[in-house]
C-alpha cells in the first residue's frame, strides 16, 4: 500500500481508468496545462495527451453539456466543475438534461459520465466557493452521488463512478485534499452504494459524510474517553444509491441516530436519512433523532466565522453529551 494524499488519489483514480479504457476523457477549466486549480489532475495531460485531457473555456454549461453529448455517443467523459458552487450555472444540464434524458427516452441510451467537483468548506473562500451541495444532487432523480472521505475511497469510488453506466457526481472535499492515507496498490475499484462502519459503539449511531467523517470519529473518541458514551460511526460515502441496509442495521443496534452534515440545515441528506429511520425503524428508536448541521445560513469567509458555522468536533461532542441521556 502506498500513502497518497486525497488530491493525489483523485488523479490516480482518473489515471487508472484512462489507462484502462480509451473512451475515458477528461475536460474542464484548467484541468490540463495547469493540472487543476486544486492540483487534482496533475500529470494527466503529460500522460494521456491533449486529445484526452482538455482545457475548456469558462463555460460550465458547455462543459457538462458536451460531456452529456459525448456520453450518449460512445465516450465516457469525466467533466470537472471547479467548485461545486458552480453547479448552479449549469444546473439545467445536470438536473434537467443529464438526470432525465435516459428516463424520457425510455432507455434508448445511457449516460456513462462522471462530474467531479470540489465541495465544501475549510479554505475560507466565502459563500460562493465553500458550499456543500451534495443535497442538491441527491434531490434530483437520475443522478448517482458519492462523497468520499479518504484517499482510498476517492480513488476507488472515482473508478467505480467511471465504470458505472449512469451519471455519477463525485464530490471531492476541499477540506480533505491535503489529508493522507493508504491506498491499495494496483487496480483499485470500489462499489457505489456502500456505506462503511468506521467505528462500532453501543450507545448511539453517528452518520457522517466526507469532511464530517474524521470529525465524527474524533468526536466519538472523545465521547468515549470523556463522557463514557460509546458511538458507532457510519461513513455514508454514497448518497445515491444509499446503503440503507447498513445504516438501518446500525441504528437499530444502538437505538439512537445522530447525523452530522456540512450542508445547510434544511432538506439535507441528514433529513432524508432521519426520515427513513423515523419511518422504518421507529419502534427501535430510544430517543429523538438529532441532526447536527451547519445552520441555515450562507457561509462566512473569515476563518473563525467559518469554523463556527460548520459542525466541529466540539459541537458534535457537546450535542451528543447533552442529548444522549
Amino acid at each position: 500500500m502506498a500513502e497518497l494524499s486525497y488530491r493525489e488519489a483523485v488523479a490516480a483514480g482518473i489515471a487508472q481508468e484512462m489507462e484502462r479504457d480509451e473512451r475515458v476523457v477528461l475536460l474542464g477549466e484548467d484541468v490540463a496545462g495547469a493540472g487543476g486549480v486544486f492540483k487534482t489532475t496533475v500529470g494527466l495531460l503529460e500522460r494521456f495527451g491533449p486529445r484526452r485531457v482538455r482545457d475548456t473555456p469558462i463555460s460550465e454549461q458547455a462543459i457538462v453539456g458536451a460531456a452529456m453529448g459525448a456520453a450518449m455517443t460512445g465516450l465516457i467523459p469525466i467533466a470537472e466543475i471547479m467548485f461545486s458552487d458552480f453547479f448552479a450555472v449549469c444546473w439545467d444540464m445536470i438536473a434537467n438534461e443529464i438526470a432525465k434524458a435516459r428516463y424520457m427516452c425510455a432507455g434508448q441510451f445511457s449516460l456513462p459520465l462522471v462530474i467531479r467537483t470540489a465541495n465544501g468548506s475549510g479554505a475560507r473562500f466565502g459563500a460562493q466557493h465553500s458550499q456543500s451541495v451534495e443535497n442538491w444532487a441527491m434531490a434530483v432523480p437520475g443522478l448517482k452521488v458519492v462523497a468520499p472521505s479518504t484517499p482510498a475511497d476517492v480513488k476507488g469510488l472515482m473508478a467505480a463512478a467511471v465504470r458505472d453506466p449512469d451519471p455519477v457526481i463525485v464530490f471531492e472535499h476541499k477540506g480533505l485534499f491535503a489529508t493522507k492515507g493508504e491506498v491499495p496498490d494496483g487496480e483499485h475499484v470500489d462499489r457505489l452504494g456502500t456505506a462503511r462502519v468506521v467505528r462500532r459503539g453501543d450507545d448511539i449511531t453517528v452518520v457522517a459524510l466526507a469532511q464530517m467523517v474524521p470529525r465524527a470519529v474524533e468526536a466519538a473518541e472523545r465521547l468515549a474517553r470523556d463522557h463514557g458514551i460509546s458511538a458507532t460511526v457510519v461513513d455514508v460515502r454514497s448518497l445515491v444509491p444509499l446503503d440503507t441496509q447498513t445504516i438501518l442495521a446500525e441504528v437499530v443496534k444502538t437505538g439512537r441516530l445522530y447525523t452530522v452534515e456540512e450542508n445547510p440545515r434544511l432538506c439535507g441528506w441528514g433529513a432524508e436519512i432521519a426520515s427513513i429511520v423515523a419511518e422504518e425503524c421507529f419502534y427501535d428508536l430510544d430517543g429523538p433523532i438529532i441532526r447536527i448541521t451547519t445552520p441555515h445560513v450562507p457561509l462566512p469567509a473569515a476563518d473563525a466565522l467559518e469554523d463556527h458555522a460548520v459542525p466541529s468536533v466540539e459541537r458534535i461532542v457537546e450535542t451528543v453529551r447533552r442529548t444522549a441521556g
Partner: protein, 306 residues
Amino acid sequence: MLEIRVVEKRAYDLFLQNLVKGTSHLALGQEAVAAGFGVAMRRDDYTFCTYRGHHHTLARGAPMVGVLGELMGRKCGQMGGKGGSMHLTSVRHGVMGSYAIVGAHLPIAAGAAWSAQYRESGQVAECFFGDGTTNIGAFHEALNFAVVWKLPVIFVCENNLYMEYTPIASVTAVEHPAGLPPVIVDGNDADAVYQLAKDSLAAARAGKGPSLIEAKTYRHSGHSRADPAKYRPAGELDEWLKRDPVTLYRTRLLEAGVPEAALREIEGIAQRAVDEATEAAKASPPSPLDVVEQDVWSDGGSAWRN
C-alpha cells in the same frame, strides 16, 4: 416533407379529438428545413432538436406510429409515453433527443460532435433550434465551444419570427454570435436547404469546424396547442401561406414536368400511411403503469437504495 405535413395536421386533429393530452408544438410551415437536412444527412449523423421536433424526427425516418403513439401516450409510442411530444427520440434513426429547455441541446450536440471527432467516425451533429434561442446563455457557450474545438456540428436556427408570443425582433440584438457568422437560407425552399445542408455537412466532415445557419421560415399555427396566435399582424400569415413550402415544392415539381397524377399518387400514399399509423396508434394499448419506475438507470430500474 409531405408526410410530415400530413402527420402534423393529424396531430392537430387528434388533439381536437382529445386523444393527445399534453402540449404539442407543430412545425406546420417549417417542414422544408427538416426535409432538406434530413435527406442530406448520412444515416449515422446525429439530430438534436427542440420540443418543436416532430418534423426533424420524421425526416430521419422514425416511424409515424411511434410519433403519433407517443403523442397519445400509447405503448407503441416512441418512448412509451414517457417523453411525450416535446421529447421525441429515436436513437436508431440518429435522433438523439428533443429538448424542451430552450438552448440546452446546443452544448449537448457539441458534445456529440466532439465524440465523433474523437472517434474519427466522420459523423456530424445537426442541432435545430428557434430564433428565440439566440438570447439564452447556453447558445453562446455552445457556439464558442464548438468554434474553439473545431467540432463537426451544424447549428440550424429556424427563424420563424417569434419566440412564444413575442416577436423576436423586440427582444434580441444578437447578430454575430461567438465568432460564427450565420449563413442565411430560405427555409421554405426545400432544395435550397438541401444544397446548403450538403455543403455544410461536407465542410464539417472535412474537419472545417462548425457552421451556423439561419433558415428563414414561419409557423402556420400557434406556438403550441394552447395558442391562437392573436399577436400576429393582419395579413402576415397569408403572406407566408403563399410561400408554403409544400405548395412551393409541388409547383416546382409540376414545372419540372412531373405529372399531376404522379403527385396525386404520392399524396395518396402519404395520406394512407398517416391514416394507417393513426389507426395503429389508436389500437395500441395505453402505456403500462409500471414504466413509471423504469429506466432511470441502465439496469432498467429506478432503485436509489438497497
